[in-house]
């Protein structure tokens, strides 16, 4: 008999509605798996009591016929989302034992829809990283293994991707500033969607780079992703950058029909040194789309190579401003000093990790007097050119298809010598953040070592429906049903 944790979100929802099992049973099964999966370090704070309380309320609502659309479904929450009464740290020491007195808009919408919170998930400190190794709680281990080595689950949403791949949660919330939803999804055989900038409210999410940050789901398949997004999206008066446009029914957009869809292949994404397996997977994706009735179009995004350099000016600049709030005064950890300045310096020296310090200092430098125009304004101009590339491309095609990452998951500890090597992980994902466009990663195959690889689709603004429909065509063709062996389980 298959276990309740094997069920997808849609299957869990349908089973709960038919009363095949209770939310208590479903939640209990996931709590058990969460406890048995501690070796992965995906969860930084387990909230089993709160989960069971929420499950009880869900069961009551289901009994009364008042179930919400996600009623009774247990999910995990990235530790970047503020959760009322539940410690939220962004996995940074500087937040200490910070316990919000409010709930982020995205998570409150999910609870409103009936979802159950299992706990807070690990991430790179302040979402700065591509391997989930910069967390104060230590690295997350990918459920997928090769050659007996521990691999990273991607980042920054590595706790979210590992938790979904290990079936700890039915789904998870995540955030994406340069690829932090899509790259971890690709590394773990999950689906991850970064919505259009402004589709989900950023209110109550710990800020990294405010003009790039977007919340989105990581889930087991495209349908589950559509269902999660439905209840995360929407306008919020508390976030002036959230867009007031209706949220369409994402699940019903999954018609399976992509006949006539024009799929653009950006020629600049064929980067030097791309592994042949990635190249082959991309070609396979093109064939799948063709077989499903799509038309393949060659397009050019000429400024692609400048996206990462522009990102590594803009994101640190915004981060240096956003992280100025961590002053040891109002919340979080504090290290005393003889003067106010000494207190700030000691608090921030002890509270931030090295990657965060690097980015704050880069940001401070590019915004400082004399350098602002040469670096920051220049990067914003390049950002315009990158956005314009997409506008031009979408005159010829409806969506763009590319690999999600330039490699499969790499071993823990392998990319530490040079921060730039780590940054290159985001080469295919970062353009969508700069242009504010929605993008999704779908598992499409395994490499020679048996590790999952993802394909990415990038759509025009607010075309998440189209993106999900096209992604499902890849999912259907790929028939990706590989699962990691459950080496990490501790069943004592």
């Amino acid at each position: 008999m298959s276990s309740l944790i094997d069920l997808t979100l849609a299957e869990s929802r349908d089973g709960l509605q038919k009363k095949a099992f209770s939310s208590h049973e479903l939640t209990q099964a996931h709590i058990q798996n969460m406890e048995n999966s501690r070796a992965l370090n995906a969860v930084v704070l387990e909230t089993p009591e709160q989960a069971l309380k929420m499950a009880q309320l869900s069961d009551d609502k289901i009994a009364k016929g008042k179930a919400g659309p996600l009623e009774g479904i247990p999910i995990g929450v990235k530790d970047l989302f503020c959760t009322k009464g539940v410690r939220t740290t962004a996995c940074s020491n500087i937040l200490g034992e910070f316990t919000p007195t409010y709930e982020s808009t995205v998570t409150s919408q999910l609870w409103q829809a009936g979802a159950v919170m299992l706990g807070k998930l690990n991430n790179d400190e302040f979402a700065m990283g591509s391997s989930n190794e910069t967390s104060r709680f230590g690295p997350v281990i990918n459920p997928w293994k090769s050659d007996g080595m521990d691999l990273v689950p991607g980042g920054s949403s590595g706790g979210s991707s590992a938790a979904v791949a290990a079936q700890i949660g039915v789904g998870a919330t995540a955030t994406d500033t340069g690829g932090s939803i899509r790259q971890p999804a690709a590394f773990t055989g999950c689906v991850g969607l970064k919505p259009t900038y402004g589709r989900c409210s950023r209110w109550g999410i710990v800020a990294f780079a405010s003009s790039l940050d977007q919340a989105g789901p990581i889930a087991r398949n495209v349908q589950d992703t559509a269902i999660m997004l439905q209840h995360m999206a929407g306008h919020d008066a508390k976030d002036t950058t959230s867009i007031d446009t209706p949220v369409p029914d994402y699940e019903s957009a999954l018609t399976g029909d992509i006949r006539g869809l024009r799929v653009g292949i950006p020629r600049e994404y064929r980067v030097d040194g791309m592994p042949s397996e990635i190249e082959a997977l991309w070609q396979q994706g093109i064939e799948w789309m063709k077989s499903a009735g799509a038309e393949i179009v060659d397009v050019s995004l000429p400024h692609t190579k400048y996206a990462l350099p522009a990102y590594y000016i803009i994101a640190p600049a915004e981060a240096s401003s956003n992280l100025a709030r961590y002053d040891g005064l109002r919340y979080g950890a504090r290290v005393e000093g003889n003067s106010l300045d000494e207190m700030y310096e000691a608090t921030r020296a002890a509270g931030f990790g090295d990657e965060v310090k690097r980015r704050i200092m880069i940001g401070t430098y590019v915004l400082s007097a004399g350098y602002y125009d040469a670096y920051y304004v220049k990067a914003l101009q390049v950002r315009r050119l990158i956005a314009n590339d997409f506008h031009e491309a979408y005159k010829k095609c409806d969506v763009l298809l590319s690999p999600t990452t330039p490699s499969a998951a790499f071993p823990v500890g392998s990319n530490h010598d040079d921060p730039l090597t780590m940054y290159l992980n985001d080469v295919f994902t970062v353009t969508a953040n700069l242009a504010g466009l929605p993008a999704i990663s779908v598992p499409a195959g395994l490499d020679a070592k048996g590790l999952p690889l993802g394909l990415q689709l990038i759509g025009p603004a607010f075309e998440e429906q189209l993106l999900l429909r096209a992604a499902q065509a890849i999912e259907t063709a790929a028939e990706f049903n590989a699962q990691p062996t459950t080496w990490w389980l501790n069943n004592e």
Partner: protein, 95 residues
Amino acid sequence: MSVDEATVRRIANLARIGLREDEVAGFSRELSQILGFVEQLDELDTSGVTPLTSAVETVIKRREDGVTDGGIREQILANAPLEDDGYFAVPKVVE
């Protein structure tokens, strides 16, 4: 562009991040590497290009200029590392 050690100290001071002497050389090397990488942008002629500050073209909604929140001093102080009589407490700034 190389970021020398004096510059690292100056930036760290602006960012209010205390650095140990033995950290300065490492940051100097890494920040130089990163800035070297981003300087690829100099290859591009961007004269006349309007900087993009908002990814999605939109008009920010206006709202009533009214009080919507407040009266939550206890909540605001709930996470304070040091609190005194309803205020955030800081090291003495005036002798």
